[in-house]
Symmetry: C2
Subunit: 268 residues, 2 copies
């Protein structure tokens, strides 16, 4: 860190600092926004966890890179806030900067330290809509997004949200379905949803959405989804669709369609 401080003083001490919280999208840089690419290219510092820094490696050359790891989010946010007083800093967030992203924590730290530099949040494509694009059109109507991680939200609240969303026919997107410590949260969530929704409802599971060759996807139903319980991991996004959704099989590709409701208004 000492070498880094020194270098930054030489390079950028006359510049006004600026802090960007950048959503880098689902994985491949193709699905980043033009703005996110520009901001990263011109930053003095880019801070993020190793997985996300690897995804944007093509865009990085002269920037000072600060690698962090999962679970070190508070340290990372503090470091970004500190460095932004002397240069342009991008702290990166997988997907969108807001959706389970770094924007909240970085602003909390900025508030706490009374930071006096410009802060800009740059939105990105979320894992939810990335997964949806691979499945076809599963989320065309009202939807609810629920993380199954009970590290940061009490499980009782997660259950209440699952009940509420399942009983009112929201399309439901499940985030963080599993981790090493929480193997059963996914099956518990599915059991709650099944109390309110028919076994025939389409369910899409997408792993590493739009991250290139690691991408994988399953189209199944609520009645069958627990057959894939072992396949689901922490990088899987789950979409449980609604009572009007259906599976369309075309040229051996299965897609999910959730109608917006135009069939109630039009013939086609």
């Amino acid at each position: 860190m000492e070498g880094l401080q020194l270098q930054s003083q030489n390079n950028v001490s006359t510049k006004k600092g600026r802090l960007y919280i950048v959503g880098i999208g689902p994985g491949s840089t193709d699905h980043m926004t033009v703005k996110a690419c520009e901001v990263l290219r011109r930053s003095d510092y880019v801070i993020g966890n190793g997985t996300y820094l690897d995804q944007i490696a093509d865009l990085l050359d002269k920037q000072e890179i600060i690698r962090s790891s999962m679970g070190k989010e508070v340290d990372r946010a503090s470091q970004a806030v500190e460095l932004s007083q002397e240069g342009e800093v991008s702290i990166i967030s997988g997907g969108d900067a807001n959706v389970y992203g770094m924007a909240g924590l970085v602003l909390e730290v900025a508030e706490h330290t009374g930071l006096d530099v410009e802060i800009e949040v740059v939105p990105g494509v979320t894992a939810i809509t990335a997964a949806a694009s691979i499945l076809g059109a599963p989320i065309v109507n009202d939807f609810a997004v629920i993380s199954l991680s009970d590290l940061l939200t009490p499980w009782e609240m997660i259950e209440k949200r699952l009940e509420a969303a399942a009983s009112t026919d929201f399309v439901i997107s499940l985030y963080n379905p599993k981790s090493r410590q929480r193997r059963s949260n996914f099956s518990r969530a599915i059991d709650i949803i099944k109390k309110h929704r028919a076994d025939s409802v389409p369910v899409g599971l997408v792993k590493n959405a739009l991250r290139g060759q690691d991408e994988d996807c399953v189209v199944t139903t609520l009645g069958e989804v627990l057959k894939y319980n072992e396949w689901v991991d922490m990088s899987t996004t789950i979409l449980v669709t609604n009572s009007e959704s259906r599976i369309w099989e075309n040229n051996s590709t299965k897609r999910i369609i959730t109608p917006r409701g135009y069939h109630r208004k039009y013939d086609y």
Copy 2:
């Protein structure tokens, strides 16, 4: 249409067709993905409503442009499906292609006509996360997205979803809060949410998020939000945050922070 058919036969009859459903993001082309830009540039036809075509005008030159208008979604989808049999077609959707977007309707028409060309959905930044980026960090935890348009969903179902989401502390994003025919839906929705949530809960209203100089934003509370009832129009995205959210005022900018829950785990 006859001239268009003739031209397309001359130009692209030997090419295999392809259909892209492209989310063009919130407005400014800066916030489009690299992939969406590429797809639009190489398409033979670009189909969309006039407002969205105007937003991407910089990217269009040699493509055949087919302008449509609001309320003509079914015609537009049918035309896209038809033309995709003879060339590369992009049908564009504001924000993301899934979230209240064109993906559902286009796949429904493709299914109905037994379309046999490659279909690719290209995701984009939604109005929700665009609005969130302007407000700071309002959606860092579980959230529900509800359209207040009762043209395509019965109002009774909308009310049930509002009750369910409000009573379980979801951050709530309201879409389509008003139209000429539905002036009171917004205030009715707020009244329902108020039954379950304190007047002090922060609310953000964003008009034309990331569309350049037309962008406008208000940070207020649930108790005060109906003072802005006249200001809210059909292009406003509303974010009603949760019981843990707060307003941070810094350098005369008001932002909303919804904690992810790290304060339960860490000191900072």
